[in-house]
Symmetry: C2
Subunit: 401 residues, 2 copies
């Protein structure tokens, strides 16, 4: 068996944890398996580096930022190889150059194009555990790129696909994917199996267990993922195309507090205005979600939508620059909002799910500001202060029932 | 003009110093010159990394050590590029992979084989300052190698040779090469010009201003070096093939406290024994210096020699393993010794230099333990406690005369 194991930054934050990971990998290796390990940077290393860079240049070129950040993973993989060597197991660390992990050219947010397997296969054939830097790649200029936050998950999935691995295990500090955040909903349950699509909705919606791009990639190449704890041996959550267990109506409740609502008031009611608004935002790479359009008085209309909180300032600023052309009378920004979503493949064939969700919220007096739905998800925008109450109510209604 | 500038770790130890270096380089760039900057790792970064590695594996594989240490320079070059960008100057950082700095395969002590100039030239033509990681290379396996301590000097010289640079400036925290260590000899003078051979003897003998391999390389390719301060604009020391000024009899006094003396007593007096002794040491890469052989009683002989203090333990241990075969009756190791040397191209054509040195030492009552000479150098082994006194006496005799 060829197994790809990915460990996040907190799993390699210090000597003790590095040896813990080394031992778990060696256990797999001793069973006769080929083991590829993908690591993130140790603990808060990446944040520390970003702070150091910001101190020197708050607007540092992204190419140089990637050159800097790549050192984080290179440090953890070399230390891991040393740890394994001290335990008497042949291991070798490889960075993005050495593997040849080709990505698009976009610094700080690159995507994999092609991964060469020659070097890794050669090292595996030589009986070594291969430890690969997560999060990074090289582009056509031979420059270092990074994949954005959580990119190490994507590295693991991409490697598993390229190497046709038999398993891809994502180790984290929780035991798997839960029906809701256990800190908010104490009786949240670990999900045994979940489909790619459900996981994708949950990942996108702020259940930070898996990076959404890694789930997309896993779906595309049919890589079966297991999310499990690096601290114990509990069975984790399996993410795959079709789950064996009968689809739950709702498999999870996700919360995204990193949301801001922007309302544009009094736009001229003519064709193409909405397109122009979202085009202006798209050109700045601002992701828009939960859109609501309403006809106002006097042949005007209002458009409101949500953006990630950290893009809100930029969104407002670019809209203000274009305010006249877009015929916007007034721009309102509101940050004290959150998105609450229920996700479940079973939703597709079950009517009344939305009604049931709204009922749960009504029962605890939570006001719904906006609504958006996909085939397997319903999202509502609510006030930030209502989030915990609403999460519990919705979780009880669907999961505990 | 194409100028290569190398700055050591203390010159980029913090934000303020990084900007100081950035500004000096930009000054050169604004004059219309092409500027290539070679940097070491910031401050104590390399030592910190070594400590971190030792904590995990005191006998870490050298390949992994090089993989780890290379992050030090990659961090400094990327931060420097950010600093220059914030000052409005286009700059780009490149690591050993990106430049393609090919070395031999020997981890932790590699030597340059070939440096590709294509990428650097391209970036220079595009009007950028190019910032290159010192100290590191890649070998034929695409693995990272390092050049050993002080290797960034060698990187600068090798780049200057490959790029046919018009100047190669080594910036350090002293103003140049001195006739003796100014902390020991207060009236030590800065040397204006010095030949490669003299510098080589001084560098080898512990004047830590320049890495000796960098001087060898500069001599081989005729790269004229300037050693100067990163903190002020004082003229430094020029290192070249032939100095314009008439050769001083003695250009400098060097001290190496990192020496240990090993005495082998009572070896059988037969041909080949000395060869076997030094062969055993050479196979462990132990450098031997200042050798003295004397006939003892009963057809035996004694051999004593010096090694670097940090190799003394290993030397004694390998000699003990072979004690019987090498017919050694007794091995004595002594660490409280130092090497004191005078270096000068003028020595070749002047008799009596040695006598004058010995007289200076006799005048202050310093006992000479062993003597070694080359064409342009005389080295004596003395007791460690006598070093400062001896240095002053010899310096006064030759330089102040």
């Amino acid at each position: 068996m060829l197994i790809v194991k990915k460990f996040g930054g907190s799993s390699v934050a210090n000597k003790e944890r590095i040896f813990n990971v080394a031992n778990r990998c060696i256990e797999e290796y001793r069973k006769g398996n080929k083991v590829v390990v993908v690591l993130s940077a140790m603990g808060d290393t990446t944040d520390d580096m970003i702070a150091m860079a910001n101190d020197i240049n708050p607007d540092a070129p992204k190419r140089e930022m990637d050159m800097l950040l790549a050192c984080g993973e290179q440090t953890s993989v070399s230390l891991m190889a040393m740890a394994m060597a001290s335990l008497g197991v042949p291991a070798i660390s490889l960075n993005a150059f050495q593997v040849s992990m080709h990505t698009t050219s976009k610094y700080s947010n690159a995507r994999f194009k092609r991964i060469d397997t020659e070097r890794i296969s050669h090292e595996l054939e030589s009986g070594r555990i291969v430890i690969v830097t997560g999060f990074q790649g090289i582009n056509k200029y031979d420059d270092i790129t990074t994949l954005g936050r959580g990119g190490s998950d994507t590295t693991a999935v991409a490697l598993a696909a390229a190497l046709r691995a038999d398993a891809c295990e994502i180790y984290t500090d929780v035991e798997g994917v839960y029906t809701a955040d256990p800190r908010v909903v104490p009786n949240a349950k670990k999900i045994k199996e979940i489909t790619y699509d459900e996981m994708l909705e949950l990942a996108t919606l702020g259940a930070k267990v898996l990076h959404n791009r890694s789930v997309e990639l896993a779906k595309k190449y049919g890589v079966q993922l297991v999310v499990r704890s690096s601290l114990n041996k509990a069975e984790g959550t399996v993410v795959k195309e079709v789950t064996k267990v009968e689809s739950m109506l709702v498999s999870g409740v996700a919360v995204d507090k990193n949301a801001a609502r922007i309302a544009l008031i009094g736009l001229r009611n003519e064709p193409g205005i909405a397109f122009k608004v979202f085009d202006v935002l798209a050109k700045k790479n601002i992701n828009v979600d939960v859109i609501l359009q309403s006809i106002g008085r006097d042949d005007t209309k209002d458009i409101s939508f949500t953006v990630d909180e950290d893009q809100a300032k930029e969104a407002v600023s670019v809209l203000k620059e274009n305010q006249e052309r877009l015929t916007i009378q007034k721009i309102i920004e509101e940050e004290n909002v959150a998105k609450l979503s229920i996700v479940g493949a079973g939703m597709q064939s079950n009517a009344g799910v939305a009604a049931k969700m709204f009922e749960a919220l009504y029962d605890v007096g939570v006001n719904i500001r906006m609504i958006a739905t996909s085939e397997i998800r319903i999202t509502v925008l609510i006030n930030l202060e209502d989030v915990d109450l609403a999460t519990k109510a919705v979780h009880d209604k669907f999961i505990e029932d």
